[in-house]
Symmetry: C2
Subunit: 309 residues, 2 copies
């Protein structure tokens, strides 16, 4: 009955919407969600994995929908206090969210891998589907701006994406090993590889840059389908559009597809965004607001992939 | 104008009351508060120093008076969440309190000493008087009970002092070096050494066990005055009375004085507790409830010490 595995590559908020949709239409043994860890960083001595955590909260139904990030029912006493004892307060950590960071940091210092910690915590929070880091090794996205190289969260949160992006680099990626389950899965029966509607430069390309991973995706025989993060010439969320302009790319779905190049077998775009996209295109509403939207897009992406195979 | 330094040895809650009184009647350059660090422990990967923190919160006016420990205006979202991600929840850490532990842990991992971290954080919280750890080296109080040795916080918090205490040990104390300012201060002009009304076994004896410290106190030439933690045959707070019974001691002010032995030049006891105490005794109300009580006892202790010198 197993129709083969769907491997979904995802960053944070945008990608997590489709990952949630996929988790609602696929049983746990048919979905493997691969999270970008290039945004991970150490802050206040804690190991923080923003994309894993967003995926975790979204799939556990614990995400803060009004705020658009973090946990629901959050309180902010820690943040209200940290500066008074000399700590940095530019990255906002809610009191509940903090529990996850403290516990992950403790376990990683005790020798557990990010995979082990993530698997255990997601299971404890009631998530049956697998969320796995792209690698258990340290990869750190950095941004070259006019003033020099910036750590990703410095650029993204502290400087609120204001610096102009000239170039991106993924420190450590050359020696990072792909998360082992992922390589095993890609060598087995794969139904589709889905590239979620995340920022290509900072969410998907770090995953594809892990040595061996892109080749394993290309070689797995299953269709690779991306969902465009651009709707009507605008990024749904985050700095994707600004970053594209700064990198000299047109802010269109087509230029995201070009960026992925030969990797793609199919591309899912919103109604008015198909223009200029080469190759197999499927048009579907990609702006996911309700749970039904997420499920519908997940079904559409899978049906499109199945047609391509 | 400097009348010489008052060195106050203190544990947590009981001792901190007198330390606060002393801080209200002495200028910052005439008081050095030495905190027990035998209760310190690592929990959830964080460095926790309960007695330093109690002294810090009390002197900063941030203590939770109703609760009797911790910070005021506290919230508990972190604690409400930690178990759900697999963390231990038997030691209660408030969201605001957590900021101090996270920041201390970060700085100590970055190489700062406990003295440096404590000096900076107390200054940031508006405390002008010096609170210093007894040592920057690791000392850990352990409790021998019928089932074997227990870590102090396991005994004290997790098992709520239920195990019978047969013996106490201060792991690491043999190689611990006294906090350097303390040795310098004791070699200079000392007005008095005040032993605050803390538990002698778990708060004061770890301090006195740091090699060189007891000898420096004995040799400094200033009167050493203790305030009894026993009022009317009962401990004001905590397991002092239960521990004394288990160690085969009468629950009296006199037996605490005997425990300190030759170290004491004078002893301050409450109205009905002078019986059986050898040596110079001063009777004063030692049950400190209001700020005025704390100041009054501080003045009484200092006046008594000045008489003895």
């Amino acid at each position: 009955m197993n129709r083969g595995l769907v491997v979904a590559l995802s960053g944070g908020v945008g990608g997590a919407k489709l990952a949630l949709g996929l988790s609602r239409v696929l049983p746990p043994d048919e979905l493997l969600i691969v999270a970008n860890t290039g945004d991970d960083f150490e802050h206040l001595g804690l190991d923080i994995s923003p994309d894993i955590d967003t995926l975790t909260y979204v799939l556990a139904g614990l995400d803060n929908i009004e705020q658009g990030w973090g946990r629901r029912d959050e309180t902010w006493s820690f943040m209200a206090t940290i500066a008074s004892v000399g700590g940095a307060d530019w990255f906002r950590l809610g009191d509940r969210d903090l529990a996850l960071h403290v516990e992950r940091t403790r376990r990683r210092h005790a020798g557990e891998t990010l995979t082990q910690v993530t698997a255990d915590i997601t299971r404890r929070l009631g998530i049956e589907h697998r969320i796995r880091p792209m690698s258990d090794d340290r990869v750190r996205t950095r941004v070259l701006s006019d003033g020099g190289w910036l750590d990703f969260q410095d650029y993204f949160v502290r400087q609120q994406c204001r610096p102009v992006v000239r170039k991106l680099a993924f420190d450590g990626v050359a020696t990072a090993r792909p998360q082992p389950e992922l390589m095993t899965a890609l060598a087995d029966r794969v139904r589709a590889v889905v590239i979620c509607p995340s920022n290509p430069f900072i969410s998907i390309e770090p995953i594809l840059a892990v040595p061996g991973l892109r080749a394993a995706i290309e070689g797995c025989g299953a269709p690779v389908v991306a969902v465009s993060p651009i709707v009507d010439g605008k990024a749904v969320k985050g700095p994707t559009a600004k970053m594209m302009q700064e990198l000299g790319l047109a802010v269109t779905s087509a230029s995201v597809a070009e960026r992925y190049g030969d990797l793609l077998d199919g591309y899912v775009v919103d109604r008015d965004d198909a223009r200029g996209v080469r190759g197999k295109v499927h048009v579907a509403p990609t702006l996911m607001t309700t749970p039904a939207d997420k499920e519908a897009l997940a079904r559409a992406v899978l049906a499109f992939a199945d047609q391509l195979s």
